[in-house]
Amino acid sequence: MNFIKLLAMSVVLVGLASCVGRAVLSAESQPAPQQIKIDNFSFTPQVLTVAAGATVTWINGDDVPHTVVGTHQEFKSKALDTGDQFSFTFTKLGTYEYFCSVHPMMTGKIVVQ
Protein backbone atom coordinates (compact mmCIF):
# COMPACT_ATOMS: atom_id res chain seq x y z
CA MET A 1 0.00 0.00 0.00
CA ASN A 2 1.14 3.61 -0.50
CA PHE A 3 2.79 5.70 2.17
CA ILE A 4 -0.28 7.84 2.99
CA LYS A 5 -2.50 4.85 3.58
CA LEU A 6 0.20 3.37 5.83
CA LEU A 7 0.44 6.60 7.82
CA ALA A 8 -3.35 6.80 8.21
CA MET A 9 -3.53 3.23 9.43
CA SER A 10 -0.76 3.81 11.98
CA VAL A 11 -2.50 6.88 13.33
CA VAL A 12 -5.72 4.91 13.69
CA LEU A 13 -3.92 2.03 15.37
CA VAL A 14 -2.13 4.32 17.79
CA GLY A 15 -5.40 6.07 18.57
CA LEU A 16 -7.14 2.77 19.29
CA ALA A 17 -4.31 1.61 21.50
CA SER A 18 -4.37 4.72 23.65
CA CYS A 19 -8.17 4.49 24.01
CA VAL A 20 -7.91 0.97 25.29
CA GLY A 21 -5.12 2.01 27.59
CA ARG A 22 -7.21 4.82 29.09
CA ALA A 23 -10.23 2.60 29.64
CA VAL A 24 -8.15 0.09 31.54
CA LEU A 25 -6.65 2.88 33.66
CA SER A 26 -10.02 4.36 34.86
CA ALA A 27 -11.51 1.01 35.71
CA GLU A 28 -8.69 0.41 38.16
CA SER A 29 -8.35 3.89 39.83
CA GLN A 30 -10.69 5.61 42.38
CA PRO A 31 -12.22 8.99 41.41
CA ALA A 32 -10.27 11.83 43.02
CA PRO A 33 -11.97 13.49 46.08
CA GLN A 34 -13.98 16.56 45.08
CA GLN A 35 -14.13 19.77 47.10
CA ILE A 36 -16.89 22.28 47.46
CA LYS A 37 -16.03 25.58 49.11
CA ILE A 38 -18.61 27.38 51.24
CA ASP A 39 -17.83 31.10 50.96
CA ASN A 40 -19.91 34.25 51.01
CA PHE A 41 -23.06 32.26 51.74
CA SER A 42 -22.74 30.14 48.59
CA PHE A 43 -21.56 26.68 47.54
CA THR A 44 -18.82 26.73 44.89
CA PRO A 45 -19.17 24.99 42.51
CA GLN A 46 -22.94 25.20 42.88
CA VAL A 47 -23.45 22.25 40.52
CA LEU A 48 -20.86 19.48 40.71
CA THR A 49 -20.82 16.39 38.50
CA VAL A 50 -19.02 13.35 39.86
CA ALA A 51 -18.65 9.66 39.09
CA ALA A 52 -20.35 7.02 41.25
CA GLY A 53 -18.18 6.23 44.24
CA ALA A 54 -16.80 9.76 44.50
CA THR A 55 -16.41 11.44 47.87
CA VAL A 56 -17.38 15.11 48.06
CA THR A 57 -15.98 17.29 50.84
CA TRP A 58 -17.53 20.63 51.79
CA ILE A 59 -15.31 23.16 53.63
CA ASN A 60 -16.76 26.23 55.37
CA GLY A 61 -14.73 29.40 54.85
CA ASP A 62 -17.35 31.82 56.18
CA ASP A 63 -17.36 33.51 59.58
CA VAL A 64 -20.77 31.97 60.29
CA PRO A 65 -21.80 28.30 60.62
CA HIS A 66 -23.47 26.51 57.72
CA THR A 67 -24.94 23.04 57.19
CA VAL A 68 -25.17 20.71 54.20
CA VAL A 69 -28.53 18.95 54.02
CA GLY A 70 -29.90 16.84 51.16
CA THR A 71 -33.39 17.97 50.21
CA HIS A 72 -34.63 14.40 50.69
CA GLN A 73 -32.46 13.83 53.74
CA GLU A 74 -30.00 11.66 51.80
CA PHE A 75 -27.19 13.31 53.78
CA LYS A 76 -27.06 15.79 56.62
CA SER A 77 -24.08 17.48 58.23
CA LYS A 78 -23.81 18.92 61.70
CA ALA A 79 -23.39 22.71 61.90
CA LEU A 80 -20.01 23.49 60.35
CA ASP A 81 -18.15 26.37 61.98
CA THR A 82 -15.34 28.23 60.16
CA GLY A 83 -12.82 25.68 58.88
CA ASP A 84 -15.01 22.63 59.59
CA GLN A 85 -15.58 20.00 56.90
CA PHE A 86 -18.21 17.47 55.94
CA SER A 87 -17.71 14.55 53.53
CA PHE A 88 -20.16 12.23 51.82
CA THR A 89 -19.52 9.39 49.37
CA PHE A 90 -22.05 9.16 46.53
CA THR A 91 -22.47 5.52 45.54
CA LYS A 92 -25.80 5.75 43.70
CA LEU A 93 -26.37 7.48 40.38
CA GLY A 94 -28.74 10.41 40.39
CA THR A 95 -29.17 14.13 41.06
CA TYR A 96 -28.91 15.28 44.67
CA GLU A 97 -30.18 18.76 45.53
CA TYR A 98 -29.08 20.12 48.88
CA PHE A 99 -29.21 23.35 50.89
CA CYS A 100 -27.98 25.00 54.07
CA SER A 101 -30.70 24.51 56.70
CA VAL A 102 -29.55 27.65 58.53
CA HIS A 103 -29.57 29.89 55.45
CA PRO A 104 -31.99 28.10 53.10
CA MET A 105 -31.43 30.47 50.18
CA MET A 106 -28.05 28.68 49.80
CA THR A 107 -28.62 25.74 47.47
CA GLY A 108 -26.45 23.35 45.47
CA LYS A 109 -26.61 20.19 43.39
CA ILE A 110 -24.49 17.06 43.00
CA VAL A 111 -24.96 15.08 39.79
CA VAL A 112 -23.69 11.52 40.02
CA GLN A 113 -23.29 9.88 36.63
Partner: protein, 319 residues
Protein backbone atom coordinates in the same frame (compact mmCIF):
# COMPACT_ATOMS: atom_id res chain seq x y z
CA UNK B 1 -33.55 71.19 68.56
CA UNK B 2 -37.25 70.55 68.35
CA UNK B 3 -39.03 70.10 65.04
CA UNK B 4 -42.71 69.64 64.40
CA UNK B 5 -43.90 67.80 61.33
CA UNK B 6 -47.56 68.11 60.48
CA UNK B 7 -48.54 66.06 57.45
CA UNK B 8 -51.77 64.33 58.12
CA UNK B 9 -52.58 62.93 54.69
CA UNK B 10 -54.81 60.08 55.72
CA UNK B 11 -58.31 60.02 57.21
CA UNK B 12 -57.38 57.08 59.43
CA UNK B 13 -55.34 59.41 61.59
CA UNK B 14 -51.90 57.98 60.94
CA UNK B 15 -49.31 60.39 59.57
CA UNK B 16 -47.33 57.94 57.46
CA UNK B 17 -45.16 60.22 55.37
CA UNK B 18 -44.17 62.30 58.35
CA UNK B 19 -43.47 59.11 60.29
CA UNK B 20 -41.16 57.80 57.58
CA UNK B 21 -39.35 61.13 57.36
CA UNK B 22 -38.86 61.06 61.08
CA UNK B 23 -37.79 57.43 61.11
CA UNK B 24 -34.95 58.31 58.74
CA UNK B 25 -33.35 60.13 61.65
CA UNK B 26 -33.69 57.21 64.06
CA UNK B 27 -30.40 55.77 65.16
CA UNK B 28 -28.88 59.23 65.45
CA UNK B 29 -30.61 59.66 68.79
CA UNK B 30 -33.97 61.02 67.69
CA UNK B 31 -37.30 60.42 69.32
CA UNK B 32 -40.38 60.25 67.14
CA UNK B 33 -43.66 60.61 68.96
CA UNK B 34 -46.89 59.86 67.18
CA UNK B 35 -49.56 61.57 69.22
CA UNK B 36 -53.11 61.42 67.95
CA UNK B 37 -52.03 61.22 64.32
CA UNK B 38 -49.57 64.10 64.43
CA UNK B 39 -45.86 63.45 64.41
CA UNK B 40 -43.49 65.28 66.70
CA UNK B 41 -39.80 64.64 66.66
CA UNK B 42 -37.21 65.61 69.21
CA UNK B 43 -33.45 65.21 69.13
CA UNK B 44 -32.01 63.51 72.16
CA UNK B 45 -30.38 66.43 73.90
CA UNK B 46 -30.73 67.55 77.48
CA UNK B 47 -33.87 69.58 76.66
CA UNK B 48 -35.65 66.61 75.19
CA UNK B 49 -34.51 64.32 77.97
CA UNK B 50 -36.36 66.59 80.37
CA UNK B 51 -39.28 66.71 77.94
CA UNK B 52 -39.32 62.92 77.61
CA UNK B 53 -39.07 62.58 81.35
CA UNK B 54 -42.25 64.64 81.53
CA UNK B 55 -44.11 62.49 79.00
CA UNK B 56 -46.40 60.05 80.64
CA UNK B 57 -45.80 56.59 79.33
CA UNK B 58 -47.86 53.64 80.48
CA UNK B 59 -45.30 51.07 79.50
CA UNK B 60 -41.64 51.10 78.62
CA UNK B 61 -39.58 48.12 77.52
CA UNK B 62 -36.32 47.48 75.70
CA UNK B 63 -35.47 45.36 72.66
CA UNK B 64 -31.99 43.91 72.21
CA UNK B 65 -30.99 41.44 69.52
CA UNK B 66 -28.33 39.22 68.01
CA UNK B 67 -25.89 38.96 70.91
CA UNK B 68 -24.17 35.96 69.19
CA UNK B 69 -22.38 34.80 72.35
CA UNK B 70 -19.53 32.57 71.15
CA UNK B 71 -18.65 34.62 68.06
CA UNK B 72 -15.01 35.73 68.10
CA UNK B 73 -13.95 36.66 64.57
CA UNK B 74 -12.70 39.93 63.08
CA UNK B 75 -16.03 41.77 63.10
CA UNK B 76 -15.98 41.68 66.93
CA UNK B 77 -13.51 39.51 68.89
CA UNK B 78 -15.33 40.23 72.17
CA UNK B 79 -19.10 40.11 71.85
CA UNK B 80 -19.45 39.69 75.61
CA UNK B 81 -17.87 43.12 76.17
CA UNK B 82 -20.29 44.86 73.80
CA UNK B 83 -23.23 43.00 75.36
CA UNK B 84 -22.12 44.30 78.76
CA UNK B 85 -22.07 47.82 77.35
CA UNK B 86 -25.59 47.35 76.00
CA UNK B 87 -26.70 46.16 79.45
CA UNK B 88 -25.05 49.22 81.03
CA UNK B 89 -27.10 51.41 78.66
CA UNK B 90 -30.29 49.64 79.69
CA UNK B 91 -29.44 50.10 83.35
CA UNK B 92 -28.76 53.82 82.73
CA UNK B 93 -32.27 54.54 81.37
CA UNK B 94 -34.19 57.10 83.46
CA UNK B 95 -36.95 54.53 84.08
CA UNK B 96 -36.06 50.83 84.34
CA UNK B 97 -37.87 48.98 81.54
CA UNK B 98 -40.73 46.70 82.58
CA UNK B 99 -38.99 43.92 80.65
CA UNK B 100 -36.53 43.23 77.86
CA UNK B 101 -37.29 41.46 74.56
CA UNK B 102 -34.39 39.56 72.98
CA UNK B 103 -35.22 38.96 69.32
CA UNK B 104 -32.90 36.01 68.77
CA UNK B 105 -29.42 34.76 67.85
CA UNK B 106 -28.66 34.72 71.55
CA UNK B 107 -25.69 32.43 70.78
CA UNK B 108 -23.43 31.72 67.83
CA UNK B 109 -23.50 27.91 67.86
CA UNK B 110 -26.39 26.87 70.21
CA UNK B 111 -23.97 25.27 72.70
CA UNK B 112 -24.92 24.87 76.39
CA UNK B 113 -21.81 26.87 77.33
CA UNK B 114 -22.90 29.79 75.18
CA UNK B 115 -26.44 29.78 76.59
CA UNK B 116 -24.97 29.63 80.12
CA UNK B 117 -22.62 32.54 79.41
CA UNK B 118 -25.51 34.66 78.12
CA UNK B 119 -27.61 33.79 81.17
CA UNK B 120 -24.77 34.92 83.38
CA UNK B 121 -24.45 38.31 81.64
CA UNK B 122 -28.17 38.99 81.62
CA UNK B 123 -28.34 38.56 85.41
CA UNK B 124 -27.12 42.16 85.71
CA UNK B 125 -29.99 43.69 83.70
CA UNK B 126 -32.25 45.80 85.94
CA UNK B 127 -35.66 44.85 84.66
CA UNK B 128 -38.75 42.84 85.55
CA UNK B 129 -38.06 40.01 83.12
CA UNK B 130 -36.53 38.98 79.82
CA UNK B 131 -38.48 37.37 76.97
CA UNK B 132 -36.77 35.53 74.11
CA UNK B 133 -37.43 34.26 70.62
CA UNK B 134 -34.80 32.07 68.92
CA UNK B 135 -32.63 32.94 65.94
CA UNK B 136 -31.33 30.37 63.46
CA UNK B 137 -28.03 30.29 65.42
CA UNK B 138 -29.92 29.10 68.52
CA UNK B 139 -31.43 25.98 66.93
CA UNK B 140 -28.48 24.34 65.17
CA UNK B 141 -28.03 20.55 65.25
CA UNK B 142 -30.87 19.68 67.58
CA UNK B 143 -33.98 21.28 66.07
CA UNK B 144 -34.00 23.73 68.95
CA UNK B 145 -34.01 21.20 71.78
CA UNK B 146 -31.43 23.06 73.91
CA UNK B 147 -33.13 26.42 73.32
CA UNK B 148 -36.62 25.10 74.08
CA UNK B 149 -35.46 23.34 77.24
CA UNK B 150 -34.19 26.68 78.56
CA UNK B 151 -36.72 29.17 77.21
CA UNK B 152 -39.74 27.17 76.13
CA UNK B 153 -41.17 26.20 79.52
CA UNK B 154 -44.14 28.55 79.42
CA UNK B 155 -44.45 28.53 75.65
CA UNK B 156 -46.36 26.40 73.17
CA UNK B 157 -44.42 23.23 72.22
CA UNK B 158 -42.99 24.98 69.15
CA UNK B 159 -41.62 27.83 71.29
CA UNK B 160 -44.14 30.55 70.42
CA UNK B 161 -46.21 32.36 73.05
CA UNK B 162 -48.06 35.53 73.95
CA UNK B 163 -48.51 37.66 77.05
CA UNK B 164 -50.16 40.87 78.11
CA UNK B 165 -48.68 43.85 79.89
CA UNK B 166 -50.28 47.22 80.63
CA UNK B 167 -53.05 46.55 78.14
CA UNK B 168 -50.64 45.70 75.31
CA UNK B 169 -50.69 42.20 73.78
CA UNK B 170 -47.25 40.75 72.97
CA UNK B 171 -46.80 37.82 70.58
CA UNK B 172 -43.45 35.99 70.34
CA UNK B 173 -43.11 34.00 67.11
CA UNK B 174 -40.57 31.39 65.95
CA UNK B 175 -39.66 31.60 62.26
CA UNK B 176 -36.29 29.81 62.20
CA UNK B 177 -37.29 26.13 62.33
CA UNK B 178 -38.15 23.66 59.52
CA UNK B 179 -36.80 25.96 56.85
CA UNK B 180 -37.23 24.75 53.27
CA UNK B 181 -34.55 24.72 50.58
CA UNK B 182 -34.53 27.96 48.64
CA UNK B 183 -36.97 29.53 51.09
CA UNK B 184 -36.96 32.31 53.65
CA UNK B 185 -38.03 32.25 57.31
CA UNK B 186 -41.10 30.14 58.07
CA UNK B 187 -43.86 30.22 60.68
CA UNK B 188 -45.67 27.01 59.68
CA UNK B 189 -49.31 25.96 59.79
CA UNK B 190 -49.43 25.04 63.52
CA UNK B 191 -48.08 28.39 64.66
CA UNK B 192 -50.35 30.32 62.29
CA UNK B 193 -53.37 28.41 63.54
CA UNK B 194 -52.40 29.15 67.15
CA UNK B 195 -51.88 32.86 66.39
CA UNK B 196 -55.26 33.15 64.69
CA UNK B 197 -56.97 31.79 67.81
CA UNK B 198 -54.74 33.83 70.12
CA UNK B 199 -55.92 37.20 68.76
CA UNK B 200 -59.46 36.28 67.77
CA UNK B 201 -61.22 37.61 70.87
CA UNK B 202 -59.07 40.68 71.52
CA UNK B 203 -60.66 44.12 71.17
CA UNK B 204 -59.48 45.97 68.08
CA UNK B 205 -58.27 48.82 70.29
CA UNK B 206 -55.68 46.54 71.92
CA UNK B 207 -52.16 47.60 70.89
CA UNK B 208 -50.30 44.59 69.48
CA UNK B 209 -46.54 43.97 69.51
CA UNK B 210 -45.24 41.00 67.51
CA UNK B 211 -41.62 39.98 67.92
CA UNK B 212 -39.70 37.37 65.90
CA UNK B 213 -36.12 36.92 64.73
CA UNK B 214 -36.24 37.03 60.93
CA UNK B 215 -38.06 40.09 59.53
CA UNK B 216 -41.76 39.58 58.89
CA UNK B 217 -41.59 41.73 55.79
CA UNK B 218 -39.46 41.02 52.73
CA UNK B 219 -36.40 43.18 53.26
CA UNK B 220 -34.07 41.38 50.82
CA UNK B 221 -35.00 37.85 49.71
CA UNK B 222 -31.63 37.18 48.02
CA UNK B 223 -30.12 37.12 51.50
CA UNK B 224 -33.02 35.28 53.15
CA UNK B 225 -34.24 38.47 54.82
CA UNK B 226 -37.96 37.72 54.92
CA UNK B 227 -40.56 35.16 56.02
CA UNK B 228 -42.44 33.01 53.49
CA UNK B 229 -45.80 32.95 55.32
CA UNK B 230 -45.76 36.22 57.26
CA UNK B 231 -48.56 37.74 55.14
CA UNK B 232 -50.94 35.18 56.57
CA UNK B 233 -49.90 36.04 60.12
CA UNK B 234 -50.36 39.75 59.46
CA UNK B 235 -53.80 39.13 57.98
CA UNK B 236 -54.97 38.02 61.44
CA UNK B 237 -54.02 41.48 62.77
CA UNK B 238 -55.96 43.59 60.25
CA UNK B 239 -58.64 44.57 62.75
CA UNK B 240 -56.19 46.15 65.21
CA UNK B 241 -55.48 49.88 65.10
CA UNK B 242 -51.92 49.67 66.34
CA UNK B 243 -49.56 46.84 65.39
CA UNK B 244 -45.81 47.01 65.93
CA UNK B 245 -43.48 44.31 64.62
CA UNK B 246 -40.02 44.04 66.16
CA UNK B 247 -37.41 41.87 64.43
CA UNK B 248 -33.66 41.21 64.46
CA UNK B 249 -31.50 39.05 62.17
CA UNK B 250 -30.21 41.76 59.82
CA UNK B 251 -28.07 43.62 62.39
CA UNK B 252 -29.17 47.09 61.28
CA UNK B 253 -32.18 49.31 61.86
CA UNK B 254 -34.84 49.52 59.21
CA UNK B 255 -38.43 50.71 59.42
CA UNK B 256 -41.50 50.23 57.29
CA UNK B 257 -45.09 51.30 57.64
CA UNK B 258 -47.76 49.22 55.91
CA UNK B 259 -51.36 49.95 56.71
CA UNK B 260 -51.84 49.64 60.47
CA UNK B 261 -48.49 47.89 60.93
CA UNK B 262 -45.13 49.48 61.73
CA UNK B 263 -42.08 47.24 61.32
CA UNK B 264 -38.75 47.84 63.03
CA UNK B 265 -35.59 45.76 62.71
CA UNK B 266 -32.92 46.18 65.37
CA UNK B 267 -29.17 46.61 65.64
CA UNK B 268 -27.12 43.74 67.02
CA UNK B 269 -25.13 44.00 70.25
CA UNK B 270 -22.36 41.92 68.60
CA UNK B 271 -21.49 42.96 65.01
CA UNK B 272 -22.99 44.82 62.04
CA UNK B 273 -24.00 43.37 58.69
CA UNK B 274 -23.97 45.10 55.29
CA UNK B 275 -26.91 47.00 53.86
CA UNK B 276 -28.95 44.91 51.38
CA UNK B 277 -26.87 44.20 48.28
CA UNK B 278 -23.94 46.33 49.46
CA UNK B 279 -21.66 43.29 49.83
CA UNK B 280 -21.37 39.82 48.25
CA UNK B 281 -23.14 38.23 51.23
CA UNK B 282 -24.90 39.11 54.52
CA UNK B 283 -22.03 37.86 56.73
CA UNK B 284 -20.45 39.76 59.65
CA UNK B 285 -19.10 43.12 58.47
CA UNK B 286 -15.79 44.38 59.84
CA UNK B 287 -15.63 48.12 60.49
CA UNK B 288 -12.72 50.13 61.97
CA UNK B 289 -12.48 49.42 65.70
CA UNK B 290 -13.38 52.99 66.66
CA UNK B 291 -16.60 52.75 64.63
CA UNK B 292 -17.87 49.43 65.99
CA UNK B 293 -19.84 50.88 68.89
CA UNK B 294 -21.54 53.31 66.53
CA UNK B 295 -23.27 50.44 64.73
CA UNK B 296 -24.31 48.35 67.75
CA UNK B 297 -27.11 49.32 70.10
CA UNK B 298 -30.39 48.89 71.96
CA UNK B 299 -33.97 50.04 71.43
CA UNK B 300 -36.17 51.72 74.02
CA UNK B 301 -39.94 51.58 73.39
CA UNK B 302 -42.51 53.65 75.26
CA UNK B 303 -46.27 53.34 74.99
CA UNK B 304 -48.85 55.89 76.02
CA UNK B 305 -52.22 54.23 76.35
CA UNK B 306 -55.25 55.36 74.46
CA UNK B 307 -53.67 57.75 71.96
CA UNK B 308 -51.86 55.32 69.61
CA UNK B 309 -48.70 56.93 70.89
CA UNK B 310 -45.53 54.96 70.36
CA UNK B 311 -42.03 56.18 70.95
CA UNK B 312 -39.19 54.11 69.56
CA UNK B 313 -35.68 55.26 70.40
CA UNK B 314 -32.71 53.48 68.85
CA UNK B 315 -29.43 54.36 70.49
CA UNK B 316 -25.97 53.06 69.72
CA UNK B 317 -23.32 52.01 72.23
CA UNK B 318 -21.50 55.21 71.32
CA UNK B 319 -24.29 57.72 72.07
Amino acid sequence: MADIIRENLNPDGIDRRGFLKCMAWAGTGTVCLLQGGVLNSYALGSTSKRLLGGLKSDLSFVQISDSHIGFNKAANPDVTATLREAIAKINALPTPPAFVLHTGDLTQLSTPEEFDALDQELKSVRTGGIFFVPGEHDVLNDNGREYLARFGKSAQPGGWYSFDHSGVHFIGLVNVLNLKAGGLGSLGADQLEWMKRDVQHLKSSTPIVVFAHIPLWTVYPQWGWGTDDSQQALSYLKKFGSVTVLNGHIHQTMQKVEGNVTFHTAMSTAFPQPAPGAAPSPGPMTVPADQLRGVLGIRDVNFVRGTHTLAVVDSTLQS
